[in-house]
Amino acid sequence: MKWSAWFNRRRWEGRMDTEFQFHLDSQISDYVRKGLSQEEAELRARREFGPPELAKDECRDQRPVEWLDHFLRDLRYACRSLRRSPGFAAAAIITLALGIGANTAIFSVVYAVLLKPLPYSEPEQIYSVEVVIPERRSQFASLPVTVQAYLEWRKANTAFAAMSALSRWECSLTGDGEPELLGGARVSTNFFSFLGVPIERGRGFSIEEEQPGNERVVVISDALWRRRYGANPALIGRAINVNGESHIVVGIAPPSLLVPTGTLLHPLIAFAPQIDLWKPIAVTQRELKNESWDHGLLVRLRPGGNREQGRHQLQAILNALVRAQVPDIKTELIPELVPIREIYAGKVRLRLLLVLGASGLLLLIACTNIANLFLARVASRAGEFATRIALGAGRARILSQTLTETSVLAILGGTLGAVIAQYGTGLLAAHGPDDVRLLADTQLNLPVFLFATTVSLVTGIICGVFPAWQTYRKDASRSLHEGARTAFRGSRTVRFCQILVGVEMALGTALLASAGLLLHSFVRVMRVDRGYQIERVLAVDLSLFGQRYSTGESRVEFYRELPGNVRALPGVLAAGAISDLPASSGSSGASRTIFFATDTNFQSLVLARPVAMIRSVTAGYFAASGSALRAGRFFTDHEDVPVSLISESLANRLWPRETPAAAVGRTIRQGDVTGPLIAVAGVVEDVRPGGADRELPPVIYRPHDQWASGPMTLVVRTSQEPAALGPAVRSEIRKLDPNLPIPAIRTMREIVSASVAQRRFQMVLTSLFAFVALLLGAVGIYGVVSYSVACRTREIGLQIALGAMRIDVMRWVFSHGVQPVLIGLLVGLGGAIAIARALRSLLFEITPTDPVTLGSVLLVLLLTSALACYLPARRAARLDPMAALRHE
């Protein structure tokens, strides 16, 4: 009713006019009837009625929607007064927007990755199983499981409702268009029902399909189905060609299916970044004979089941199995259950929490800044308030005006913050490292947005309204007399603002120092000697398949011919191939225990000898990668006897306290004491895997014709800009085999850059926050110093008039501004070191007290705050003493 009355204001006015007119007309006609002339009657009626406009105004005051009018008036007033101080308005709005926006964006991602329930049925019951061999712990924190262990566990355990294994599967998809190299996975037939994710189109696998011979069926991803097959429902039941063999498509996975990709499940099982095909695991007799630690295993606890009991049972079954095979082995394998949440979030948790902490600090700084801005503003308006109070403004009106102004700022800041949050969430979800991207959705987290908005708003209200209310409590006339400066300037406000600046600087220092340490670590990671060249190197993954390559010789032939042809291209310096490119983040090639030639007892020595990753390389690989030879020689095209190159760290483990040269010419065995003797042809420098921050793994390199592996990566070293050679390399591959899928040819720089994506993600975000914090801090210092200068204009003018040098004035202003900064710096530095200690694992080759970083941070902060002080100090020094004395 009230609203409609307001909206019908014109109608309301019209009715009031009608009512008044009726009154006058009635009066006039009454007078006329009593015998007055028309003119006299009108005159008299008007006189008795009084001024109609006054009556109308008084009536309008009685309108029920008066508060709305007041509000609109306050709104207009607030907008006008904010427009008069655009600096304050802009600073407050931007501060609010950054604080709200950054926090909402970060928390939306943190929520999606760390807190939101995983899209499985009862995800908290699902665990991943890893095996720890205590004797191997220094080299492998844990291992994936063997297929034998999986089968035995599945048969004998009672604690788990279901188990589902998965292992990697390289897929070359041919027919129906361009050949493609896709990521796939072999999974237990119960995989989809295990996760509780129903297949909507077609079906999942049936138990019969785990029998060898029945396993030529696939479920494909929704993305692949849409992209390659145009979402054709008739694809189900049709055969597609995977790795040269025909497979029946039985189902399409739902688009929302979340499965572990990359090395999420275990560092030693590298799935593709995207899985598009699933096929049942059908264990052959040959696979049962070979023991390979290359299966991931997910288990689902029975409802109400006990995790520790389940683990114990698995341990008993596993060790019984091991003893049955190697009766005298002196070790106890320990299976571990890792909650599935850890699989997805474990590696990013610390990084995300760090970023969240940084954005939280930013919000704190933002609130401090807002408090600062508002306090200074209220103080500078104390005179205005006093005047208005003296003129009769009620406390409610003053309060409601301040409140309106705060709300206008909050709404503008909040709106801008929502835009930043929306955009930022999308940006984070799209550009985060793989494991963040997997879970992050671009949904803005509304409760968080409201929370951040409320926090900033409450800060604004406390800092804006409370002092205004205090002003009112003071004797209005006294404030008016004493002028704005003494009433509120009060050294109390300045002191309080200084404390706020100190807090802001402390928080900013902590943030900036953390960012500096991460930045320095990042620079170190990028600069570290990786043991291979990064500049002017190309790499492309190849996976041979089909009848043509059924024999080892044909594969060897391909990898002998291809690098030879590529090397003949103009601009190419060297070319070679390797089975696991060290730069890719997931290196998962086979690994074997290395025995001395003299070792005879496998069972007693297997846990005492080092384990090395085996990499298969062609003769030209080292020339292409640029890894340095420490001793001996590289491979030639034709090696007659079994040979190897070993990495420096493997040489060190095998023959500690001996030079690399001493290793050359010795013989070793790989995998078993009965294996063939392998000569060590040379020792090469260590290469750093993936993100460069992991330990140097011992590696044994074998010539490709002596140790054939599955997929290889062709590495090409060029004399010019490498990307330009991509098409030529591609056409060389096409010439050799037109059916071979060729994925994107990437430069080594791109690959390395992708491998440090996580580190960069967190470094960039923290730096961004630190930069914003620095900016806000500078604004805060500038504001407070300017304000204290403004408050003391008269005093400064007096001093100048009495002969103070301008330099003295500047010194005075500086000491005033820098004092809280210095205290803040010291406190913040302590905080930064504490934070860095907690984040030690994210640092690379620097200590939490890295002097270079902390020194530069201090320098940056001091320079910034000096600049922020300099501007008002200069203004103070240039004051015209006469003008200053007349000031107010």
């Binding site: 009084g50 009556a55 008084e58 009536c59």
Partner: protein, 117 residues
């Protein structure tokens, strides 16, 4: 709905408060328009009560907002549209309360005046 009764008025507003009471009293008899109220007040008080007629309307609007009067547009005998005010239930209670208050005040004043003689 009865609103909060603002009985605490300062000196300048006593007259206004009295006007409210008179309006309520007149409107209690029958639905009546603004001009009618003025006529009736002058008639009953034998022209002794003179009010600035324009100030009647803010009072009417306020009483309407307070829920003591209810307004309706009706056609007069002369065929014109006029706004008629009618006393509500809350208004009747208010009238009784104010009348009682007024009487107490009058008694008190008379007492003071008589004692002073």
């Amino acid at each position: 709905m009865p609103r909060h009764n603002k009985t605490a008025r300062n000196d300048a507003e006593i007259l206004q408060g009295t006007l409210d009471l008179l309006i309520l009293k007149v409107a209690a008899l029958q639905p009546i328009h603004g001009y009618g109220i003025v006529q009736r007040l002058q008639q009953i008080s034998n022209e002794a009560l003179q009010i600035r007629q324009g100030s009647l309307y803010p009072a009417l609007y306020r009483l309407e907002n307070q829920g003591w009067l209810k307004a309706e547009w009706k056609t007069t005998d002369g065929g014109r549209e006029a706004k008629y005010y009618r006393l509500t239930k809350a208004g009747r209670q208010q009238l009784e309360a104010e009348t009682a208050g007024w009487k107490r005040l009058c008694d008190a004043i008379s007492l003071v005046l008589e004692t002073g003689e």
